[in-house]
């Protein structure tokens, strides 16, 4: 006869908890189905679909100029870079010769967008680990970029500055001056970020060795952007497949090998320095010329399949267009960085505490509309 000792008095039971869709740490309407044993995470299941707007399907209905506007609403923090991706795909398909001026301006605007996105991420990262003040510091510096964008293209969040063939408007006369002001300002503020958060003992305790992602896993999960680079996976599209003016500038790809939350944090901080250096290299050498090549009012891409990838603030954004030669794409697919980065959350968060999950999620830098198009 089998004898089994059952500890009825001290039975530990896993329980299930809904984190989101309305939760401060999920930054939007992401819902995580957590299975928890006390404080320890046993399983994380992301549940998507709360902000699905069928952008890809809408693209099949719209003309190529209109599609650009939809991309703002995906990863709204790198709106300009998303615009650029579609524009580049269309321009490459049409084999348009884009003026140098446009390329340089697009690169500068793209890097400004990246800094602005990382500023917001830094603020939110601090908030997720409990340091509420960082949020306002990040927003102070982001505000300057938003002002520059507002002056240049009239919008602060969804810029729609790029159009197939170039830029919607030429840059504002103040643009160069104000970007220089911003670069000088931000160079004094970035060390402040380090003083406030990076060197903090509690912050390091919360992040070092938490949510470790190995290089192999990073590659197999399709991680890109700072998440992949923190694991030692060199995946910077700007470096490996330069577009716009990235082949004309020198910058180092921020790489770390630890793969933990702290490494992802440091990669993004370093990326802000690199973006500053890219802007500095280009801001004085914006060539004269046209800001736009005239295209047909109705753009019809030749029959075929086109793919363009760019590096957004979150990682590799791919635009895959199948055209049948009409004014609409037959099918348009976005490969969004957030989706792949979210997919590895279960892999790296299991075994940690609830606090670890929040810190890990903060460094994945998820923007939910980007995941849920």
């Amino acid at each position: 006869m089998e004898t089994e000792v059952v500890h009825t008095n001290f039975k530990s039971e896993e329980y299930f908890i809904n984190m989101g869709p309305q939760h401060p740490a999920t930054h939007g309407v992401l819902r995580l189905l957590l299975t928890i044993d006390g404080e320890i995470i046993k399983k994380v299941e992301p549940d998507l679909g709360y902000i699905h707007r069928s952008i890809e399907k809408m693209c099949e209905r719209d003309s190529y100029q209109q599609i650009v506007h939809l991309t703002d609403r995906m990863d709204y923090l790198s709106a300009n870079i998303n615009n650029e991706a579609v524009c580049l795909a269309v321009e490459n398909a049409l084999q348009l010769e884009i003026p140098e001026r446009v390329k340089v301006i697009r690169t500068i605007i793209g890097e400004l967008t990246r800094i602005s996105s990382h500023c917001l991420w830094w603020g939110v990262m601090g908030m997720d680990v409990g340091a509420l003040t960082t949020y306002f510091y990040g927003f102070r510096d982001r505000e300057m970029i938003n002002d520059i964008m507002e002056e240049t293209c009239g919008a602060r969040l969804t810029m729609n500055y790029n159009v197939p063939g170039g830029l919607m408007l030429d840059i504002h006369p103040n643009f160069v001056k104000r970007v220089k002001e911003f670069v000088a300002h931000f160079k004094t503020k970035l060390p402040e970020y380090d003083r406030l958060l990076t060197g903090n003992v509690i912050f390091q305790k919360r992040t070092v060795g938490v949510g470790v992602l190995s290089k192999e896993d990073a590659i197999s999960f399709g991680a890109s952007g700072p998440v992949g680079r923190a694991s030692g996976y060199s995946c910077d599209v700007r470096k490996h497949h330069p577009y716009s003016a990235y082949d004309k500038v020198t910058f180092t790809e921020a790489l770390k090998t630890e793969g933990d939350t702290y490494a992802r944090y440091l990669v993004r901080i370093q990326e802000m320095w690199e973006s500053l250096s890219i802007i500095e290299q280009l801001i004085d050498v914006i060539p004269e010329g046209e800001h736009r090549v005239t295209t047909n009012a109705v753009i019809k891409l030749p029959k075929g399949e086109y793919y363009q990838k760019v590096e957004t603030a979150r990682g590799e954004l791919g635009v895959y267009i199948i055209s049948t030669g009409t004014k609409n794409p037959y099918r348009l697919k976005f490969r969004s960085p957030g989706f792949s980065n979210l997919s590895l959350l279960n892999h790296i968060a299991v075994g940690g505490k609830i606090g670890d999950l929040v810190a890990t999620m903060a460094t994945l830098d998820l923007v939910i509309p980007d995941i849920d198009r």
Partner: protein, 353 residues
Amino acid sequence: MILLSITENIHNWLFSVMPAGVASIVEMVLIAIVYLTVFAVAGLFLVLLERRVAAWFQLRIGPNRVGFQGLLQTMADAIKLLTKELTGTDRADKFLYNLAPYFVIISALMALAVIPFSKDFHAFDINIGLFFLIAISSIGVIGILLGGWSSNNKFAIIGAMRSGVQTISYELSVGLSLLTMVVITGTLQLSEIIEIQKSGWLIVQGHIPAIIAFMVFMISGTAETNRAPFDMVEAESELGAGFHTEYSGMKFAYFFLAEFINMFIIAAIAATVFFGGWLSPFGITESIPELGVFWFLIKTMVLVFLMMWFRWTFPRLRVDQLLTLEWKYLLPINLVNIVLMAVLVWLNLTIRW
């Protein structure tokens, strides 16, 4: 002195118009009402101060529209909270759910009774004052545990359990660091502790071990009040609002106010035990005893500011790191520190002037 003469007049008048037994009960009720009013106002002021200090740290202005410099802002908030509907969860344990906020607020208010604001402004000067403070301030956690348990909400129960773990652990450090100072004073009565400090604040008298005890007390005191960087209980980015997720209106306000009063109590204990309470520095205003309240509040406010500074600068610890800090660092340091202090007192190495 004016205050004292007013209270004495009321005392004499009460005893002249009614029998002694009734008069003393009426007097107690009056004192309680005065204390409640003063601390409702003090709590609201601390909330405002916190918001203004936070704004100052965060490059903002903060509330400055309602009343002069926003002085009436928190009053307006309190009125809003009073008029709000009290919502609750289905299948919650209604009795415990309603009881919980009172545990928290009553323990906070009871502790205030023994705090010496000045030589004369001291409601309840018992000979176990310090012990009473430690004992009373730990009752509050029962309210938090009850609130989390009875809310029928998983986030609330996680918050409450964290709170239980945290408060039980840090209670040790609070008690031991204060006991370190009792080694010098030889008394638990708060008025006597202050009298002893006429020959030098205890942080000077006890120098090295006293400074260690002060640091330990401030760390564990912050943890005791569940404030950042130890706000595991609320941890808004992890648990939403933690144990008070399901509370609304005035019940929520009780939790909220209790946190601020607890912060005031921790700062007041530190000011009393380490910095001479209502004594002026170097006895510069010893001839004017009315200034005692002023000095006491100045010292307390500096320490309150220190705690706000912690909150708006540091990230939050993780729950296991919180326990590591207490059991592996603060507690051993504390135990060694008591021995060190005892040796210091034994060899008569304290500094007095």
